[in-house]
């Protein structure tokens, strides 16, 4: 008899939206444990809505969202955030009147009584982004965009989640900062993390991900390997990302 390891994320038949309108319809998507999956699409395709639905930030949602075998579709966000899923949102949305370290600590609130694990996670964030260690006591509003993105990713890591959700981590960053973020995501993959990466930049998704989904108009319309995406090149951009 074999035991089945649940996917880090298994979504089926997911529809979600605001008011009377569904922004995304009948989404089916899987992320295996230790896998990095990209979700590509143009502005308004519904990529962010998928991430917000997983985190429970959109109340109007139907279908199934399983995180490591646990159905989260009826859970409030603060329960989902306690070790199941964590989000590095678009625009970072740090707690700007708090220090770097306070932002990180707030990311791992549910682990605060497990001091050893909490300390190990904090050390792993500083190992991933050494520059943050020197800025521990600095207000996060005083950091550059790239450094703020590091804090956003670190804050996500602090909850030690089953699935990490990243919403356009490369947006509005310098090429150097994008490179640092991409290398950090590759390092997270190497450590065995499961990632769902929303991106508009195909080159970033290709470098980080094992598989790619393409979304347009609220639906998943294609699935491909990074190699196929690289081969498609400009035709992929013309076809889907415009």
């Amino acid at each position: 008899m074999s035991t089945t390891v649940p996917h880090a994320l298994d979504i089926s038949g997911l529809s979600a939206g605001y008011g009377r309108f569904d922004v995304i319809r009948d989404i089916a998507l899987k992320v295996g444990t230790g896998e990095a999956v990209g979700l590509l699409g143009p502005n308004g395709a519904g990529k962010t809505t998928v991430l917000r639905s997983i985190m429970g930030l959109i109340r109007q949602r139907r279908g199934s969202i399983q995180v490591a075998g646990t159905d989260v579709v009826a859970m409030p966000p603060f329960r989902i955030a306690r070790g199941l899923a964590a989000l590095a949102p678009e625009g970072r949305r740090l707690f700007v009147d708090q220090t770097v370290e306070d932002n990180l600590i707030l990311g791992g609130l549910h682990l605060r009584h497990d001091t050893a694990r909490h300390e190990a996670l904090l050390a792993s964030v500083y190992e991933l982004f050494p520059v943050l260690k020197g800025y521990r006591k600095r207000l996060s509003s005083y950091l550059s965009g790239g450094e703020q993105q590091m804090v956003a990713i670190g804050r996500m890591l602090m909850s030690d989640p089953e699935i990490m959700l990243l919403d356009e981590p490369s947006v509005a960053l310098s090429p150097v900062a994008v490179d640092i973020v991409v290398k950090a995501l590759i390092e997270l993959r190497r450590r065995g993390a499961s990632l769902l990466l929303v991106e508009q930049r195909i080159d970033v998704a290709i470098r980080v991900c094992d598989r790619l989904y393409v979304m347009t108009h609220g639906e998943i319309v294609d699935e491909m390997t990074p190699e196929a995406a690289r081969g498609a090149g400009m035709s992929l951009i013309d076809k889907y990302l415009g």
């Binding site: 930030l57 409030p76 603060f78 009147d97 708090q98």
Partner: protein, 299 residues
């Protein structure tokens, strides 16, 4: 001269505590609880009732504060939470908190009657002379000490405890706070309970002077609101205390130098003038006295 300053600081500390109470709930939930004055009244009435029945003043005060905290949480659950769940960015809470205030006030008037009942004197029968210049009752000095301790305690909790940081995160971005495991509903309930306790403390400080009356909340709720607005409490709750002290001094000054009823209208004039000069309050980040605010952590 010194007498109106001293008296103004003492009564201003009471206004400031109610202003801080208003500001704490605003800080966490972005709504103004217009039942704050009535939460103060609940403490005063329950304390007076229990002491009248023969319990010690300290038992009465403890029970009164607990009653305010319970009614404060109820005000959130009944008048605020459902409104915000329906529309987080709407202003329905303006009406619902005013309605809750009217219900609490009329319930108190029904239960205790509309006339004042005695409140324990606590320290009102002692007085301290500052040379020939001023005299304050022990109760007034207690009000100043309690207000300052409450302000310092609030800032210490806000800046140096995990709960304070959770409150700051909820205040800054409630959606992200919940996305990082914070139960924002619990945080809001704690904030409403804490603000009701603070308003109740203000009631205990002023009760010996005003006696216990079901309609006490109207006046002090309004003065607390003015204290919050002129101080800049919508940004930092502690500045409502500064606003309250300024308000108290100006009201007592008006009584001393204009006429004995001037404190009925003068605070509104002060509010209007200050809001023209500094719409977000004197101690707000854009206000003329911004430099006197507490320094932010981590700079």
């Amino acid at each position: 001269m010194l007498q109106f300053l001293a008296s103004g600081i003492a009564i201003g500390c009471v206004y400031g505590m109610i202003g801080m109470a208003l500001a704490i709930t605003f800080y966490v939930t972005r709504i103004i609880n217009f039942a704050q004055g009535q939460l103060m009244m609940v403490t005063v009435m329950v304390t007076a009732e229990l002491v009248g029945q023969g319990y010690s003043p300290w038992v009465g005060v403890a029970a009164g504060l607990a009653a305010s905290a319970v009614v404060g949480v109820l005000s959130y659950l009944i008048a605020v939470r459902p409104i915000l769940a329906f529309n987080r960015f709407g202003f329905g809470w303006l009406v619902s908190t005013l309605g809750f205030a009217a219900i609490v006030e009329n319930a108190a008037a029904y239960f205790w009657g509309p006339t004042s009942i005695p409140f324990p004197t606590i320290l009102n029968s002692t007085s301290v002379h500052f040379g020939d210049a001023a005299v304050l009752t022990g109760q007034q000095i207690l009000a100043i000490v309690v207000a300052l301790l409450a302000g310092v305690a609030f800032e210490l909790v806000r800046r140096h405890t995990l709960f304070g940081k959770i409150g700051m995160a909820t205040a800054a971005d409630p959606e992200m706070a919940s996305a990082f495991g914070i139960n924002t509903k619990t945080v809001a309930m704690v904030a409403f309970a804490a603000s009701a306790l603070l308003a109740g403390l203000a009631g205990v400080m002023i009760g010996p002077s005003t006696f216990a009356n079901p309609y006490l909340g109207d006046t002090f709720g309004t003065y607390g609101f003015i204290a919050m607005m002129i101080g800049g409490g919508t940004e930092r709750p502690i500045t409502a205390l500064y606003g309250g002290i300024l308000l108290g001094i100006s009201a007592e000054g008006a009584n001393a130098f204009v006429n004995s009823r001037a404190s009925d209208w003068f605070p509104f004039l002060v509010l209007a003038l200050i809001l023209v000069v500094s719409p977000r309050g004197l101690f707000s980040s854009t206000g003329p006295l911004a430099r006197l605010r507490p320094v932010r952590a981590g700079r």
